[in-house]
């Protein structure tokens, strides 16, 4: 099972991840990133990988 890990010191709440994988990531009204599904389903993984790749501050990792 792959798991998304957020480095809170790096995240600036840009929401790039949410734009690519809205079922997994959501920046809340306080600008804080919430993980809606820390362990994404298999069919979500391609979008999640894009989101990890696109994160401008490299705050996201996908751990196996």
């Amino acid at each position: 099972m792959s798991r998304v890990v957020v480095d809170r010191d790096r995240c600036v709440g840009s929401g790039s991840c949410e734009a690519l994988a809205p079922s997994v990531f959501e920046v809340d009204d306080d600008g804080v990133l919430a993980l809606l599904r820390p362990e994404p389903a298999d069919d979500e993984l391609p979008d999640v990988r894009d989101a990890v790749q696109a994160c401008p501050t490299r705050a996201l990792t996908l751990a196996d």
Partner: protein, 428 residues
Amino acid sequence: MSLDAAVPAVDLDGIDLSDRDFWLRPPAERHAVFDLLRRQQPFAFFAEPDIPMLETGPGYYAVTRHADLDAISSQPAIFCSGQGAVSITDMPADLNEFYGSLISMDDPRHAKIRRIVSKAFTPRVLERLVGSVQEIVDDVLEQARRTAQAGDGTLDVVADIAAPIPLRVICDMMGVPDEDRDLVLAQSNIVLSGGDPELIENQDDPLTAFLEAGMALAGVMERLAAERVERPREDLTTALVTTEVDGEQLSHQEIASFFILLLVAGNETTRNAISQGVLALSEHPEQRARWAADPSLNRTAVEEIVRWTSPITWMRRTATQDGELNGQRFTAGDKFLLFYAAANRDPAVFRDPHVLDLGRDANPHFGFGAHGPHFCLGAHLARREIAVTFRELFERLPDLEVTGPPDRLRSSFVNGLKRLPARLTGAR
């Protein structure tokens, strides 16, 4: 097949990226120079342009490879922004802060303020704005058609389409009243004029013109901020005057600076993505037809337009220590200009980089900045504005036809068009 794929013959002798006239050359020529720099001198060193009344500094490295640019951008502790990110010449500290705001700020201060303002730019907040972006685009395009029909069928893509859309969006977000918007547009044009003689009359004293433009924008903000303290509303200005960072409120000057940043950044960038996007589609009619027929291309097409146009050509970083990067030694104080426009055509990353492909799938372009804390705050908003604008252009102005070459802004910093003549073939 792209016209830009036919690379003009250039050599690096006599190439000076600090020469303002270089930036008036057609994009294909500029990209041919970037291609050579990337291959032959990936850290080419240039003398700084002279600006009257400021001390000319030691020069800068022009970074053109995608990998080098990303390495610099993603190590903000070694390559900082606080000594100025938007100007080659070092500006006096107060000016730097006034015009640069978040862009010319480093952590921890940058991170704190960024978190406040990023709340207003998340995908979900923007979802609530979709209606208003759509309304604004519809309205602007209908007005453009009326303007063309009332005259001889001609219009200016910049003044009639590309400029008013982002201006109205950002002014709505900030709560800037209608009567101030002409002033906002005119002054933000001066701030990002790059000294273009059409916008800066007194070429011996561009600084005064920049300062006066900044003061005029700050004046609008001071008044708005005071009004929102009295009567809060649902807008970004209210958020800025009421939010605290670690128990500390933003000062009036910080708010004014941020306001200038948002107005200028929100206006000039999206405007040029739209105007140069229209130009690109007119030069590549097969791509235009492809996108017009297939809305599912929106996502990749918008990214490709941003890669292709790279509205902001560069940002600056300054080394905080001595070191080495991919074979290049540097010392503390060295300046690096990150040429996003060049990285966005790097063949090490992009297949057929000089081909416009609206379906391009892997597209890790730096049109919104490279990795790092300064990544464009308004990226989601810009994507939305560009997507809605092109969809509605296909729908409402399908007969729009570019009729002549654009007038380019003489600026190394903003890849801008001042005018793009066009007509509606169905207007007469």
